[in-house]
Amino acid sequence: MTKHIRSLTARAIGRLAVVIFAALVVNVLWGVLTRYAFGQQASWSEELARFLLVWLAMLGAALAYIENSHLGMDILTRVLEKSALRLARLTGHTLVLLFAAAVMIYGGGTLFLERWDSGQVMPALQFRKAWFYLSIPVSGVLISLFALDAAIRCALGKTEESKTTTLTKA
């Protein structure tokens, strides 16, 4: 995958995450306001918040993976030779690929279908619970695509800049 496609996808996911985040803030503030103004909070507000949160989290996790900003430990890798480092990276990306494909796409996809068939709905929103779980396979697809891409680039001998643990928030 070219750098161009990577940054384009990252930007698209980023935009979506920003919209979800903004909706989340407005929704919860609205909940607080209605609780004060009408003495009772709209029951859909909390359900919607949890729904938006899981999507925000899953998209944010995919975005962080694409941009290489997840928390990792570089105690060993920072002293490795270039070729050993490449092998370490290749292994890491491959394992993430397997995890995303097996658990997030296959497991999450099965979960989505199972909930879809059961017809379970979120009580206040009257909205299928399956949409909540769909965030997992969607994130899984994004992560596995980019893990595959990163693994291929490693195998072809292009090592990325070492990410630093210091860039993440404590």
């Binding site: 985040f21 989290a57 944010g60 430990m73 394992l95 993430v96 497991g107 997992i136 630093t164 404590a170």
Partner: protein, 431 residues
């Protein structure tokens, strides 16, 4: 049982060393051990645990406090807090070191991020201290250690994470419990910084000190964020999650409307940064829930508990042992994953010893703060070295007296429960 768990530990350590993102390391280790333990429908149930682990209204406070911190930090918060601290303590000899610790405490509390405190405060104050005759490595050491106090002074995301994994712990009680320990460690660090400055005759001449009332007036709106959140939760006006949303609103009003330091077009970028951090933290939380379910099912916490209690029945010694374990963990693990992984294992031991879960949370956080400043993995230390342009070995040496202060603070916090529990009890949020 033991093979499955051995796989979990081995895979965990091996993958960590490969620099695989910790959230995935936890997930992969959990899946492999679930297979080895012969669980059914592993892939489906791990996916379900990932989703359900995030299906909580309480967790929402985390992205909101992250966003509020980003919004506050984007403007001139650092400068306003530095001016206030300078007006308060800048006049004395060695004053700039005190200004640094005091600012870090306030900034860390408001922004909720020790890393942001190091880069924002350090970015301004380390060069200023350098110019005033304070040695560079000392300046980095002061900033990096003082920045961690913001994780104990509320609001604090790591406390929300602890409350979620510990279950049945009130976020409001944790927030109140963190106030005195955070201030205590801040004061100990200030004392060390001041003593060192006087002895080494750093910063001989007092610089320009801004007038107190004006700088207080300018910093007050930002400090109100902390007061709103705490007051709102304590007064029963809103829950921690609602408080965090109100904090976002307040931060937005301040930085976009009132101070106008953040133009509208910057907002998407700020929200994006917060979204990325949210993804990182949330995936870690989700994966840890999967792992802790396996650990509980295999009764690992019970085993650890009886092993530790088998060593000794003396609560003082056991607590010391737990602290040493956590110090070691903290040197190579970041705070969030450490809290997520070790709370379910160690909290039952603490409860067995009669330690209040709120008190234990504070001990754990105070302990792991030290790890943020130590090699081989120490976010604050590394970031300080980057910001202040020095190397880890030199700064670590300058850190030694500050480590001592933090350990002294940790011991006080561990063995004087009232430090943590008096305030929440007084406020009525803890029985």
């Amino acid at each position: 049982m033991s093979t499955g768990l051995a796989i979990l530990v081995l895979v965990f350590v091996a993958l960590l060393l490969l620099e695989t993102p910790i959230a995935f390391v936890i997930g992969i280790a959990a899946v492999l051990s679930a297979f080895a333990l012969g669980y059914e429908q592993v892939l489906l149930s791990v996916a379900r645990d990932l989703g359900n682990g995030l299906d909580s209204f309480a967790l929402l406070a985390i992205p909101f406090f992250i966003l509020a911190g980003e919004l506050m930090g984007a403007g001139g918060l650092a400068r306003r807090l530095i001016d206030l601290a300078a007006a308060l303590v800048g006049r004395m000899k060695g004053g700039l070191a005190m200004v640094n610790t005091l600012t870090c405490m306030m900034f860390g509390a408001i922004s909720g991020s020790a890393a942001a405190a190091v880069s924002s405060i350090g970015g301004t104050l380390i060069p200023e201290m350098n110019r005033n005759g304070y040695p560079k490595d000392f300046n980095i050491a002061v900033t990096a250690t003082a920045a961690t106090t913001g994780l104990l002074i509320p609001p604090s995301n790591v406390m929300i994470i602890y409350a979620v994994v510990a279950s049945n712990v009130s976020v409001g009680a944790l927030f109140m419990a963190g106030v005195l320990p955070g201030v205590l460690i801040g004061l100990l660090l200030s004392a060390v910084a001041l003593a060192q400055s006087r002895r080494g005759n750093y910063g001989s001449a007092a610089g320009q000190v801004p007038p107190l009332m004006r700088s207080l007036w300018r910093a007050l709106p930002s400090l109100l964020l902390v007061i709103f959140v705490l007051g709102g939760i304590l007064g029963g006006i809103f829950t921690a999650t609602e408080a965090s949303a109100v904090a976002v609103l307040w931060a937005f009003l301040l930085s976009v409307v009132f101070y106008r330091e953040t133009p509208w077009r910057m907002l998407p970028e700020i929200i994006l940064r917060a979204a990325r951090t949210t993804g990182i933290v949330m995936l870690l939380i989700a994966a840890s829930q999967v792992m802790s379910r396996i650990l509980t099912q295999e009764q690992v916490p019970d085993a650890v508990s009886s092993a530790l209690l088998g060593l000794s029945q003396n609560p003082v010694l056991i607590l010391l042992t737990i602290n040493i374990i956590l110090l070691v963990v903290g040197t190579f693990m970041d705070m969030t994953p450490a809290v997520l992984v070790f709370t379910p294992i160690l909290l039952p031991v603490a409860v067995e010893l009669g330690i209040d879960p709120v008190h234990f949370g504070i001990i754990m956080i105070a302990n792991l703060c030290i790890g943020l400043c130590t090699p081989p993995v120490g976010t604050c230390l590394f970031l300080g070295c980057t910001v202040g342009k020095s190397n880890i070995v030199a700064v670590s040496r300058a850190m030694l007296p500050f480590y001592a202060a933090m350990v002294a603070g940790l011991l006080l916090i561990s063995y004087v429960p009232a430090l943590s529990l008096w305030l929440p009890r007084l406020a009525g949020v803890l029985k």
